[in-house]
Subunit: 328 residues, 2 copies
Amino acid sequence: MSNTPPATDRPEGSIGELGEFAVIDRITAGTTMTGSVELGPGDDAAVVTTPDGRVVISVDMLVDGVHFRSDWAGHEQIGRRAALAAMSDIAAMGAVPTGLVVAVAAPPSLPAERMLELGRGLSAAAAEAGAALVGGDLTRADALSLAVTVIGDLRGVRPVRRSGARAGDVVAVTGRLGWAAAGLTVLSRGFRSPAALVNAYRVPEPPLAAGPVAAASGATSMVDVSDGLLADLGHVAHASGVAINIRSASLQVHPRLVEVAAALGRDPLDWVLTGGDDHALAATFPHGATLPPGWEAIGSVGVPGDLGPVVTVDGAVREGAGGWDHFG
Amino acid sequence: MSNTPPATDRPEGSIGELGEFAVIDRITAGTTMTGSVELGPGDDAAVVTTPDGRVVISVDMLVDGVHFRSDWAGHEQIGRRAALAAMSDIAAMGAVPTGLVVAVAAPPSLPAERMLELGRGLSAAAAEAGAALVGGDLTRADALSLAVTVIGDLRGVRPVRRSGARAGDVVAVTGRLGWAAAGLTVLSRGFRSPAALVNAYRVPEPPLAAGPVAAASGATSMVDVSDGLLADLGHVAHASGVAINIRSASLQVHPRLVEVAAALGRDPLDWVLTGGDDHALAATFPHGATLPPGWEAIGSVGVPGDLGPVVTVDGAVREGAGGWDHFG
């Protein structure tokens, strides 16, 4: 991209009219760098320091109509959500996010102001987590999509994998469960309230800082709840070769979820067990370990029985609780 | 993703039928890791060593119908091209690619075998450059698109930026120029030969290893030729605040280009000056420096005149030689 200074931060017209480089320049002008950034946007690549000597990296893609609906959320919210969802994977390894790059495909008719909002959302969410949006690519497509890659630093801790759970461990979660799924259900029915749930769907509040704390506290395995609690603990069970049982009475079902579920004729526990978009963290800790603040014990790890490495709720396999398959 | 072992590497049916996790498992089973990879695919994020203490990062997005046509290239070729184009940005900083993550959006109807070919192409191109495909995300969309993020290591050299060109420097290039553009023109006219040009469009041969060598040889600025030689040198001119003049007689116009251009009634120099998909490298070196092997001097850097920081050919601004705008 060129170094032309931004003319205004409220451009008129579409991104097609403004042009790729002008849009990129304007997005770049609004980004905040951090001390980790040796070289930010504007060159062929960015340079970020890696004090740990290793870099953690993950990518998350969101497509309009699949992961979000641009008529259900503002573009700044979509940008925030994309950044937060991607950073959550870094937190789930026990690492701290340091840098983000984003590939955006968008229809040329998209108003440039909407694209700047998207960039602001990405940049703001990154900055609030102590990271920086250091680069990107912008191209044309029929539908809006974003691929956000996040890099992070382990600060000397070992990465917390999905495969480390052992029989006898305690299963714990932190962050919201079921809020975003409830919000999505509300929006799908044509409602716009309760605002707390709708907003939880639009912009999650993943407990990013809890990941490194859990790693330092001896978490044996950890996963970002992006496909639903049962599905993601299923990944842990498979990778670790263990069985996991959840006590439903230990799951916090917020009164708002209970209330909305009653109004819509739904079981709020379904949202808690299978909703993914909140990006809570689930982890296992050694038996008897003191859980870090904010973590709640919800179950236990056992030796796999006849059913193999499964996840049960109150001792039974729950029907219809498979993972979220983006082609399903 | 789960750790289910791959059942076969020639699956039947579409990716929608096979399912997201099964497709990812099969792609992952075919990837090759390197000594830099501390943790590969299969967890929330990958971990790659960064001996330099810094990481170079860049993302490149390719969309079917915009950057490639899946009816003009096989999916393994599309995967290779995406990986090579993205790694070229890392080379242009003087760094060595170490790891790639890819976000793929695809129609559920895409045959699973095509998706595995795409993965094989990405993985093979990475491996040939000494890097590894360490993670990804797969989701549903109406059109096929790939966002490839590459990280790289500087091995102790300073990053070579676009802004370092100084009056008096020599401008040099390495790699093919115009081949892919000629191949695209051939394909657009409904022809499938000459094979060398068509294949150059399908899978570029970017001189990745030349980037770190140029950095070690004192290159003052460097850029990946992805928008066309004039446009990308224009980025260098702007970022460095210099004027660049190219001597057209110094540009190698391959006999194949001359021949095809004559047959199609085109000027081969247009392809050389404005074609981008070859991912050649352009750099500036101090006056009198010995150019590394494979680099050809094609012009010189001067103080900007009345026209400002422009790129001229034989002293004149070339008409219609602006950059490639993906919304243009």
